[in-house]
């Protein structure tokens, strides 16, 4: 059977149209979920940039620290690993002055401050170095409110972010964290993590979406102050305007959002 050029072009044209039409018909059936169908929760707390002030004068006893730490670790199913300090998972923890503020140690610093444990967490930097180095964008700064987020689904466990973070705010899951979570205290509304991902404080994004303040702030009895740093009338701005504050390693230019006052 021979076919001339005219017939060949006709067949080719018709089958192209059928092909394109078929694909788009199938696609229109498949992708019925449109982005316009989603919205932020109406009850969510919103801010331009969240910030926290740690009022060290209100941390008087061991119990004051532990209450905040426990509240955080319980809501987020943070495992309690004690056998190897390198395997420890920390979202909110205590740090000595020389480790929290390296370079600021003064020979004649008051003994009280020198030995005071400081409550430290992810600083949710305005210019986060961890975000710059993440090869998969698993960690990113949320556009809406400046929270430095972790997308566990994308984390490949390369630990570049841990090397980049100058505050040691990130922990790597060297082993499955599940056996180290007390099952009776597990928060069934929040996931755990898996072996091979990096985790850190997420400023309770899941609680903010429900209109609640972060768990540590709620448990702190006013020792932790939380609010929008870009709103001049917010509680954090009022505190920062009235009292002397300092941040961890400001010379690095990461612009942390966690402030300390005495």
């Amino acid at each position: 059977m021979s076919i001339n050029r005219r017939e060949f072009l006709k067949i080719a044209g018709v089958s192209t149209i059928l092909g394109i039409g078929g694909v788009s018909a199938v696609n229109s059936l498949r992708n019925r979920v449109e982005a316009s169908q989603i919205s932020p929760s109406p009850e969510a707390l919103v801010a331009k940039r969240w910030a926290m002030v740690v009022d060290m004068s209100k941390f008087k006893s061991e119990e004051d620290y532990q209450r905040c730490i426990d509240a955080c670790h319980r809501v987020h199913n943070v495992p309690h690993i004690t056998d190897n300090p390198k395997h420890e998972i920390k979202w909110l923890w205590k740090e000595t002055y020389e480790h929290a503020f390296p370079g600021n140690e003064d020979e004649y610093l008051s003994e009280e401050i020198k030995h005071l444990p400081f409550l430290v967490l992810c600083n949710h930097c305005d210019n986060p170095s961890c975000v710059r180095v993440c090869p998969t964008k698993a960690t990113f700064k949320r556009k809406s409110d400046g929270i430095v987020m972790m997308d566990m689904h994308r984390c490949i466990g390369c630990r570049f972010c841990m090397a980049a973070c100058p505050y040691g705010a990130r922990s790597f899951n060297y082993k499955d964290p599940r056996p180290f979570i007390n099952e009776a205290k597990e928060n069934l509304e929040f996931p755990t993590r898996t072996k091979g991902v990096v985790e850190k404080c997420t400023l309770c994004y899941e609680r903010l979406a429900k209109g609640l303040k972060p768990a540590c702030v709620e448990a702190s009895n006013g020792a932790l102050i939380f609010g929008d740093i870009e709103d001049p009338n917010s509680e954090v701005r009022k505190v920062l305007g009235a009292r002397y504050s300092f941040r961890r390693r400001p010379e690095l230019g990461t612009r942390p959002s966690v402030y300390y006052i005495f």
Partner: protein, 134 residues
């Protein structure tokens, strides 16, 4: 035929290996998956409210697309409310929305996933609802 013995033995081994799965399973087909939607949470709902976020056919074929979209919208785009095609609003959450009704992961998720040999990694992190019967 050269090397007939070796070739015939080789052929027999090959046929044996290929036929092994069929012989091993006794020639019967694996039972068709039958996911159950009769959890106490679903049975508690009124008859006309017993429907998923989207129509059943769509959920059957495209639930993985929906879950992927939900995950990105919640984690990356700061949106938590999903308006379904019928106008009803849902909080986008596998653990707190899907599994609140479908509290039978074994009989709902695993039934088909095992049949089709799909191993989603959802449950590495997300906590499975506690099931009474195992």
């Amino acid at each position: 035929m050269y090397n007939a013995g070796k070739i015939i033995i080789g052929l027999l081994i090959f046929v044996g290996l290929v036929a092994f799965p069929f012989v091993y399973s006794g020639g019967k087909a694996t039972a068709k998956p039958d996911p159950k939607v009769d959890t106490p949470e679903i049975l508690k709902l009124a008859e006309n409210e017993r429907k998923c976020v989207e129509p059943k056919a769509y959920m059957k074929g495209e639930h993985m697309v929906l879950l992927n979209d939900w995950r990105d919208w919640v984690v990356r785009d700061d949106n938590t409310i999903y308006t379904a095609t019928d106008g009803k609003k849902y909080t986008m959450s596998l653990q707190n929305t899907c599994m609140k009704c479908h509290s039978n992961k074994k009989k709902f998720c695993d039934e088909c996933h095992n049949y089709t040999a799909v191993k989603p990694y959802c449950w590495d992190c997300h906590i499975v609802p506690k099931e009474k019967e195992t």
